[in-house]
Symmetry: C2
């Protein structure tokens, strides 16, 4: 733990009230959505300016204090957890949108801007921030960048990376780097900006971001289609992708749907029970597009790939269809799910899912497995629900065994052990399933370039060398 004299010095760097050490704050700011690690920070500091962030990092270097960046704390891999006496740097007070340019369609955000706040700002200006996901009501821009957040519109709009036009970061030495300055084109050496996106705060803290906005989508229309088996989902994706510019292509299993319907507040899409469901979305720019979608649907039915389906005819129906998919994560959270967030290239998805499903159901027939995910991107969320009779520790221990088998399959398929949730602490010991020893060595060397004293979020992505 950081000692009192050192913390007293920290208080001189920001308004003293902005250093918190009360147990409730330490508890709240020390954790994320994983809840695997008991939070144990020494203190929480809330800077208001990028100069204060620099001062904090320099202070941390002087006293060898580890810093953990903290945004909306909606992470699912423990990247924002302070479990070892670190000082949490929370960006809640740096939460302003400080610039907007209609011609460039760009917006300058402080790191604590909440995703939904940014989306609303874009909408007020007739534009659109297209990165969207279940936790957008509390996740912050800095955290989105740190994890390269993906979500439900990646098939059309890409990850957060695509929308970052400029970054100001404070590195591990307290140096401020202004990267790319909002330019579309800039071929002046290595694009360092890209390194900080998805680096989980281990190379630098994002203190300002210039994000690009897009024109608002027009007349978004969703279809939910029921398929007779998992394998039929892929030709359905292929058929629609050949005809329409999809803005989303998601899937979920009947078990997932059952949990949603059990809530009682979301209507069933249609009567026919199906083992799997695809949710797709597109802009129905005119009648022709909607007709094309219906014709493609009919062709899929003729081919036997689709058993039943529905297309939204109103904004309300659109929202209701989306609830079938978007409420899943929160709905099953009450069953203490063990979550895996894995990906392979889209073409490999059917064989991959079949292998994993076989392993899990063979060894754990008593576990309920709920599949869903962003199948248009090859990203599957495998959720194993805790049986009521098992206690949490025993359940997680058994899941850890499954984990290894799952990751061995991921490795064989050249996939990713973490498609969009990051590595943090939870996936760190499994990193080698997706990255080679040579790559991991390069990453550590790059870490040493930007953070020579190992001040920034140590122990995340890889174990610290001296642990």
């Amino acid at each position: 733990m950081t000692d009192t004299a050192v913390l007293a010095e920290l208080m001189t760097l920001v308004a003293p009230a902005k250093v918190l050490t009360d147990p409730a704050s330490l508890q709240a700011y020390g954790t994320d959505w994983t809840r695997h690690y008991p939070p144990a920070p020494s203190a929480v500091v809330l800077p208001r300016t990028l100069e204060q962030v620099q001062a904090i990092v320099r202070w941390a270097n002087r006293h060898q204090v580890a810093l953990v960046p903290s945004g909306g704390r909606t992470g699912l891999s423990g990247a924002a957890v302070a479990a070892h006496g670190e000082v949490v740097v929370a960006f809640d007070l740096m939460n302003q949108i400080i610039g907007f340019d209609a011609v460039d369609r760009s917006v300058v955000c402080q790191p604590g801007v909440i995703t939904r706040q940014l989306q609303a700002f874009a909408e007020e200006n007739g534009l659109y921030y297209p990165v969207d996901f279940a936790s957008s009501g509390s996740s912050q821009v800095g955290g989105n960048i740190g994890t390269n957040a993906g979500g439900i519109k990646v098939i059309r709009y890409g990850m957060t990376r695509n929308w970052v036009a400029g970054l100001k970061v404070v590195t591990g030495t307290g140096e401020l780097l202004e990267l790319n300055k909002g330019l579309v084109k800039n071929a002046t050496g290595y694009d360092l900006r890209q390194l900080f996106i998805g680096a989980e705060g281990t190379l630098g803290f994002v203190v300002e971001a210039t994000l690009r906005l897009e024109r608002a989508p027009r007349n978004l229309t969703a279809m939910v289609l029921g398929t007779p088996d998992f394998d039929s989902i892929m030709p359905v994706l292929h058929a629609f992708q050949g005809q329409l510019d999809l803005t989303a292509f998601e899937f979920f299993s009947d078990k997932g749907l059952a949990h949603i319907l059990a809530r009682g507040d979301v209507p069933a899409p249609f009567e026919t029970p199906c083992p799997f469901y695809a949710l797709l979305e597109f802009e129905a720019l005119n009648d022709e597009v909607a007709e094309q979608a219906l014709a493609t649907f009919e062709r899929c039915v003729e081919q036997g790939w689709v058993l039943d389906g529905v297309m939204s005819q109103s904004e309300t129906q659109l929202r209701n269809l989306w609830k079938l998919r978007e409420y899943l994560s929160e709905t099953i959270s009450h069953f203490t799910p063990y979550k895996n967030d894995i990906s392979v290239t889209v073409a490999k998805v059917p064989a991959f899912l079949r292998e994993i499903d076989a392993v899990v159901s063979q060894h754990y027939p008593d576990f309920e497995v709920v599949w869903y995910g962003h199948i248009g991107d090859g990203n599957l969320h495998l959720n194993i629900l805790k049986p009521a009779h098992l206690d949490k520790a025993a359940f997680f221990a058994r899941c850890a065994t499954v984990n290894q088998w799952v990751f061995e399959i991921v490795e064989r398929y050249q996939g990713s052990i973490s498609a969009e949730h990051g590595v943090g602490m939870i996936k760190r010991d499994y990193l080698h399933y997706s990255r080679s020893p040579a790559e991991i060595a390069c990453m550590k060397a790059i870490k040493a370039v930007f953070d020579p004293n190992g001040i920034l979020n140590p122990g995340k992505i890889f174990a610290p060398d001296h642990q």
Copy 2:
């Protein structure tokens, strides 16, 4: 120069005939389109496999031989020039498309695949590779990645970076890194792939790339609009961007048009003489879109932003309108142009161009200045043509003075001194106008991570430490 015994060892690594030392080959492979530096390589080696590339790099490490990667040699900054006795590694024999997946819409290319070959392959498969530029008939995929090539469709499709789903690179130690493996989503630590894109072969040589393809555009339609002044171009861009998904928004000046018309093989777009012209393109997916375009055109005329215009009604007309812009670079190349490739954020373009134009025309009233570029991306090509009476050396010396003033303005506008042409040797001494000393120090440290012995393309982007 590399000595004979060392070269003899190199010959054992590849078929001996694949090491060239004849003067014609040294001349041809030692240079790019810049022609500023007399080529002086020791030898040219043409590997056939990635294992041979690894062997060559290890050989270079053993003997401290500098290597210069060579693709289509269409670069405009001297990044592929071997002027100091280096060995050129040319990828001409690694020119196969070795994989294709229709579901993933991805294609696996060796680095020597020519851009047009890739575009044609995509087309044969009903798809589209959207990175396109004047030199696509000879530029190679490896070089495109090394410079993060942009071109004429960036406003819709982005730079080469957006299309690279996976990379195999050989680093400066001969290590093979397989980066991202074609995945859409992969949040497992630093995205090292991004570092190699735009690194001009200074961190590693690309030996294989998985590129994403897009659905083919439908019924592409172009408009050429004449404006009364430069400032009117921006509201025209804004008006069209609010209505249509543009696939291109280019501009050129009357002086550029005059050079094109003087060729005699390209028809004038319309009679009205205008000081500036915008060329925009969109998919006319249906009549409604075309009507919207015409209505926007009329609104621009009413506002006084546009004096005259034309919209393509056929594939032939589309091609002819594009020639007005695409033939520019080659057409003015006969006047020994001094080229600058600069960018700022789009909103700053008018003020920025005005300042630069003022400086150039004030100090060099005898120079003909031809402006054109990708204005939808904030990317301006400033071409100063050599007056017939000046010799080349005197002309370039005077341009170097202009250069500094131009770059001081670029710096003041937080722009890029090289929007899409890279740094190479030509821009290397000006890098500090766009990147801070701290950034440059980080870049050098990263170079040391991947290429500790300084084997790969030394002296490009920044001067070697021991020169």
